[in-house]
């Protein structure tokens, strides 16, 4: 399969850089898979699982919030967090899930509820991806 140049940047540094055959991310408008030769495109990325196929091997990752651009065959994904399945700390995610759940039952402030919901979503994604 034909490949393209993929770069994934996060605020904590470069998460991936190199050739890939496919990038699948969950955007705000639905799942999108980028293959080689894709037209110039951009989309905002939501919290969810992502998949990269590189060298015929698919790798899953949890990705939260960010932005995807395809420009002249170069694919860039800027994500707030991007963790490959084998790097995910499941224990931490489970704890974060419990904390967010208990917060949801007690919180009254609208902002707090939104924050807890986002945390819960991220934790659930991590747990799910780690099991893939």
């Amino acid at each position: 399969m034909k490949g393209f140049n993929l770069e994934i940047v996060t605020p904590d540094g470069l998460a991936f850089s190199g050739e890939a055959e496919s990038l699948l991310v969950h955007t705000d408008d639905g799942d999108v898979e980028i293959l080689a030769g894709h037209m110039d495109y951009m989309a905002s990325v939501a919290t969810g699982r992502a998949r990269i196929i590189t060298g015929g091997v698919s790798k899953f990752a949890s990705c939260s919030g960010g932005f995807l651009t395809v420009l002249g065959g170069e694919v860039r994904l800027a994500a707030v967090t991007f963790e490959f399945a084998d790097k995910i700390d499941v224990e931490r995610a489970k704890k974060a899930k419990e904390r967010a759940e208990s917060k949801l039952t007690t919180a009254t402030d609208e902002r707090e509820i939104a924050l807890a919901k986002a945390r819960l979503e991220r934790a659930l994604t991590r747990i799910k991806v780690a099991g893939l």
Binding site: P11, D12, Y41, M42, F67, T69, A78, V80, T81
Partner: protein
């Protein structure tokens, strides 16, 4: 008596020595932390650079020329995000940031989000309008907290609570130089690029989704720059403190030896003159 002053000098040497031990340890810690902090600061930049370019692309679509994100509103309040350290003993690190901020704004029509314990204390003490005291510890401020600030700031800007958002932080220029700087986050001062790529959502909605990430990314990068700067400033300050301390020990040693010599000379004189009297 000369003996008393000798003991005084000895006690001072001891106290300077123990201070030096502390400053030496602090320098070592700062040096090792500095390396890590520097790498982190450099790793953060690509994230918001990619987002910044994406924003330029979105701005290129004609419909968003009059986007509220770029709208300059001259009157009204400015929100400052001031990033300082959690601790002192870093030379002029904290003071320089506050001095820059004071030169920027007299505090009449502005509000502050202090990041870092020193910043929070400073602006509380000065009774400035402090929007949030959630970010007391800059050293443990993670990506999600920075994104939280970004989101909140964007909400406030669009709601018209403030008309300008400015980040005040210390730029890490080199190991020896750190410069306090300010950077306007909103309204966006970006230039539209030449062609807009295809996207599923409409451009205005796109901006609404990515600008908070961009602002959060810039804030996080400002935080990492500041952390590296703090360690750099502390290392320089502790290095100077070590030099001063060893100089002080040298002069005290000299004085101690002179005092000892003076006592011996005096004793000899007394014995000689005593012998002569016999």
């Amino acid at each position: 008596m000369a003996g008393a002053s000798m003991n005084d000098i000895k006690a001072r040497i001891k106290s300077v020595e123990s201070t030096m031990q502390i400053t030496k340890a602090m320098e070592l810690v700062a040096t090792s932390k500095l390396r890590r902090a520097k790498e982190k600061a450099e790793g953060t930049r690509p994230f918001y650079e990619v987002l910044g370019r994406a924003i330029d692309d979105v701005l290129a679509s004609e419909e968003v020329c009059a986007s509220p994100w770029c709208e300059k509103r001259d009157t009204g309040r400015t929100l400052y995000i001031v990033i300082a350290g959690d601790r002192g003993l870093a030379g002029g690190y904290n003071a320089n940031i506050f001095r820059l901020m004071d030169a920027l704004d007299s505090g009449k029509d502005s509000a502050v989000i202090p990041v870092g314990k020193k910043a929070l204390e400073y602006y509380r003490h000065r009774k400035r309008t402090v929007i949030s005291d959630e970010y007391e510890y800059v050293s443990s401020l993670g990506v999600s907290a920075a994104m939280g600030i970004g989101k909140e700031v964007c909400r406030g800007f669009i709601a018209g609570e403030y008309d300008r958002v400015v980040a005040v932080y210390t730029k890490f220029v080199s190991m020896l130089t750190q410069t306090p700087v300010y950077e306007q986050l909103l309204p966006l001062e970006r230039e539209a690029s030449s062609g807009a790529p295809e996207c599923d959502a409409d451009p205005e909605e796109m901006l609404e989704r990515i600008v908070p990430y961009y602002v959060g990314g810039v804030i996080y990068s400002a935080v990492t720059e500041s952390l590296a700067s703090e360690q750099g400033a502390r290392r320089t300050a502790m290095n100077a403190a070590n030099k001063n301390a060893s100089e002080m020990i040298d002069t005290l040693m000299l004085r101690y030896n002179r005092a000892r010599q003076a006592i011996i000379t005096q004793e000899i004189t007394e014995i000689v003159s005593g012998a002569e009297a016999l």
